[in-house]
């Protein structure tokens, strides 16, 4: 999950710290615009082999580093559950 933090910090030229905590709304803080949002989603999809529906992108689940990490973890967990072979 550190990769997400690193990607956001490097791509958007910021540093998460006391003035910009990981739970900050990245839209309201001027970090994400629509251009950056697409970049972020494409990175997450490619890096973790997951995908986001339009509904997910337009709801409030990908707005802070904390929420993004949780959402990616949830999708990975879902994926691993669905891919676990049935034990005979």
């Amino acid at each position: 999950m550190d990769k997400i933090r690193t990607f956001i910090e490097e791509q958007f030229l910021i540093e998460f710290d006391d003035t910009l905590p990981e739970y900050s709304n990245l839209f309201l803080e001027g970090v994400l615009d629509s251009f950056g949002y697409v970049q972020l989603c494409r990175f997450l999809e490619k890096e973790y082999n997951i995908s986001f529906t339009e509904k997910e992108m337009t709801s409030n689940i990908l707005i802070s580093l904390t929420q993004i990490q949780q959402e990616v973890a949830r999708k990975l967990s879902e994926k691993s559950t669905s891919q676990t072979p049935l034990v005979p």
Binding site: L13, I14, E15, N25, F27, L28, E29, G30, V31, L32, D33, S34, F35, G36, Y37, V38, C41, R42, F52, E54, M57, T58, S59, N60, L62, I63
Partner: protein
Amino acid sequence: MCGIAGLINPEFSVEEFPKLITGLLSAIAHRGPDGAGYVMADNFVMGSVRLAILDPEAGIQPISDDSERYWLCYNGEIYNYLELRSELETLGRTFKTKCDTEVVLQAWLQWGEGCLNRFNGAFGFALYDRKTKQLILARDRFGKRPLFYVQQGKAIYFASEMKAFLAIPGFAFEQDPSQLRSILGQWTPLPDQTGFKGISSLPMGEWLSFQDGQAERHIYSRLSFKSDIPIQNEADALDKIRSTLSDSVALRLRSDVEVGVYLSGGIDSAIVAHLAKSHAEQSIATFSVTFEDAQFDESAEQKLVAQRIGSRHLARHIRHSDIAQACPDAVYHAEIPAFRSAFVPMYLLSKLTSEEGVKVILSGEGADEAFLGYDLFKETLLRQEWDMLPDDVRRERLKRFYPHLSHYGDQDTAALTGLYQQFSTEHMPGLFSHELRFQNGRFSSRLINVDGEQNPFASLSGLISKNSDFDKMSSVQKAQWLEYKTLLSGYLLSTQGERMSLAHGVENRCPFLDPAVVNIAAATNLKFDDGFREKRLLREAFRGDLPAAVVDKRKFPYRAPDTEAFVAERPDYLELLLSDTELEKLPFLNKKFARLLINKMFTTSPDRISTKENQTFMFLLNIALLNYQFVTRKGLGSGTSLGTLPPLQRVVDLRTCSAS
């Protein structure tokens, strides 16, 4: 058009006055190359440089009343001066010249500050009363002409451009981190901000009195979008828009020299050019910038309009190298950090205009603010009803706003929808309309470290809280108010408009900034449509007069290549950013962020650089150049290159304690 400058400082010897005032006026000589003049007495000195437009022989400044009690230095044009002069004559006032300068003086003597609301024009002036020892500074209602001042103890300095203060002994420029942070946040300075400590801009619609070392500011004009013009139906609205704009252009053609028009390729300047042609007794000249980079170029529409009105059309072609080469000169004239490079081509265009012998141009500024031309107004309308709209309507509206979305994938539409989702409710009181824009500004403001107030929008919030009418406005009217007070006055009219034109002695006039035009727009906006086709009524009002390709063209923001031009050309002065030693000279800079940004600009392809990064880089470059020129006084800001005094036409010496 002219430039004015002057000072009251009890600590300066009167013997120094001639040298002092010629220094100040030399620094702004470009504003008035036709002549200079000044008046000095025991306690004040002020003067002007003049670009002779009306009554070139008799309009030499400064002027006084017969008793020599009142002295006026004046920069600008009062377009309704003939009407005011008639009114003043019926009240018993007599005139010696045909010039509007004398009308300003007599109007003040007749009506006092009440004259200011009667003026339809663009002006900044200084008036000194020798009996009461009171200095008056005043500025037009939209901020078309500049006026800066510095109050230090019992002293006051004033000038049309801040660079005049470089000629004041002991005066030091220092960039103000708190103001810079605010400027970067809201994209432009607020009406009183300059980016420098201790220097204020007199806000539009205000006048200042200075007496006994005390300065007081007064507001004479408040921006309002209330209109009492009755509009019967859409046909009536179109008639009134046509006739009001026609009158406005006719007033602005009052000149004793040739008048030209700046053609952008859009509807606004095309309307101005069409009306200018219909009123002009002879052929008119039109001027445009064209770009090597096709994404910025509008030459096809410019040619269409020029052909339709039969103008003598001239274009300045802009390449990356032109922008890189002219940028430091343009920044020196602008004096305020800018968020994009589009003012630089306008600097080169005014040079061409001047070389062609045209001293006065009309342009389309102010149309988008009055007639709701920007996407920002549509975004505001959409965002305020966002939460109540079904998904498919949201998508359909977004695609109408951003036609390019249909060329991209669903993910882009979803990203934009996600962005709107975050901005469908107000987070900053009163600033709902601008929160999307200010999101980019918040990113840029990270460049500046400040002590104390960290919120870059605190000053703006303070400004709106002082305006009791603001709360009563609709969301779109608030958006208009903010546009008039920030982007229009703080960048479009100043940095990109007036400062670039006057850098080469060209005066710009804006028919869309006539109070009657703003009033008719307020009376008709959103009355006959939903606002989602920008400036629809304006387009329809002139559909029969202009090529359909221009009337039906979508709003195409005037832009120029930003970072890519500098990265491609790599001019020597980029060392101001690339050298750590140079960056250290900006003590308030967030150097880590600045280095990351600079590195990204030079190592990333332009299509992967976002608008806000581009804009932040432009701010950084501007701040570094202004520091170099004004704070360290190198290059154009060095003492040896402040300018040459135009021919001295009038010196009035009223000193009684002079040693000479």
